[in-house]
């Protein structure tokens, strides 16, 4: 039933309240003194030269996308591992072939040096 999730709802409410309390308690309890130097931009004694949002290396993106692929592989493994006592051997070998296909990709990326940092 849907009421089994009541505990989770209570946890979500408590977590939200707690994060709000921590955030705003900081705001109210702290000693505030406004100063023009505090809010000015400062970078090693200079005015900042450029925007702080730099374009960064594409390798981070590669690691993230490889993470997603293996994440989806584990997603496919999870129902399989919970039902495997009811599956026939066909279902078992279907997963083995699936893993073989992905292992080919894994070996490819390893040999290609995509995992080197």
């Amino acid at each position: 039933m849907i009421f089994e999730y009541l505990n989770i709802l209570i946890f979500i409410i408590i977590a939200t309240l707690l994060s709000f309390i921590i955030f705003f308690l900081n705001y109210f309890l702290i000693l505030r003194e406004y100063d023009i130097e505090k809010v000015s931009a400062y970078e090693c004694g200079f005015e900042p030269f450029e925007d702080s949002r730099n374009a960064f290396d594409v390798r981070f993106y590669l690691v993230a996308i490889l993470f997603i692929i293996f994440d989806l592989e584990i997603t496919f493994l999870f129902p399989w591992s919970s039902i495997i006592n009811l599956l026939s051997s066909f279902g078992f070998w279907a997963m083995i072939y699936f893993l073989l296909i992905l292992t080919v990709g894994f070996i490819y990326e390893w040999q290609k040096g995509a995992l080197d940092w």
């Binding site: 849907i2 999730y5 925007d51 949002r53 730099n54 374009a55 960064f56 594409v58 390798r59 981070f60 993106y61 590669l62 993230a64 996308i65 490889l66 993470f67 997603i68 692929i69 994440d71 989806l72 592989e73 997603t75 496919f76 999870f78 129902p79 399989w80 919970s82 039902i83 009811l86 599956l87 026939s88 066909f90 279902g91 279907a94 997963m95 072939y97 699936f98 296909i101 992905l102 080919v104 990709g105 894994f106 490819y108 990326e109 290609k112 040096g113 995509a114 080197d116 940092w117």
Partner: protein, 197 residues
Amino acid sequence: MSFIFYCFTIFAILSGILVISSPNPIHSILFFILVICNVTGYLFLLHIEFLALIFLVVYVGAISILFLFVVMMLNIRILELGNKLLNYFSINSFVLFFLLIEVCYFIFNFDFNGGFLEYSVNPQYLSWVSVLNGIPNILVLGQVLYLYYFDFFLIAGFILLVSMIASIILTLEYKIEVRNPNIYEQILANTSLRLKK
């Protein structure tokens, strides 16, 4: 119950509108995460627990991170969002047309009486206890996916393989000199080889 349902739906639609209308791309990604969280709650109300958690893991955990990377790599400043929404109207309506056809097909062909949620395909393993109590969502999915739809399952594997190879080919076009530590050299080093004062 229906109050929570309407809350999730309205929040999902509102944050979906904010995804496309907020000028800052970072903010639209955050609203996208909010959309997915609301959809997750919606799927929980439909008793599709496994898909709900998968939505949370894949979309919030992975896809939104990818979008963040894309935004940071493209180095987009805050856009001036003027009357540009109508510029994409032709391709938007094209996509929307097919989406509408899919939704109509789903609505008119879906068996609402019973159907998907308490669905047991494999009659060989039909036990009345599990029928009366209802088997979990994930076990239903597992029974169907690895036996009856194994071809789609293997095609999904091939799609993952293709995406893996394609992302490697697209991003590894230049070979960087990677400085890996040589472990044997490090172990064999002794103090006589080091610089002394």
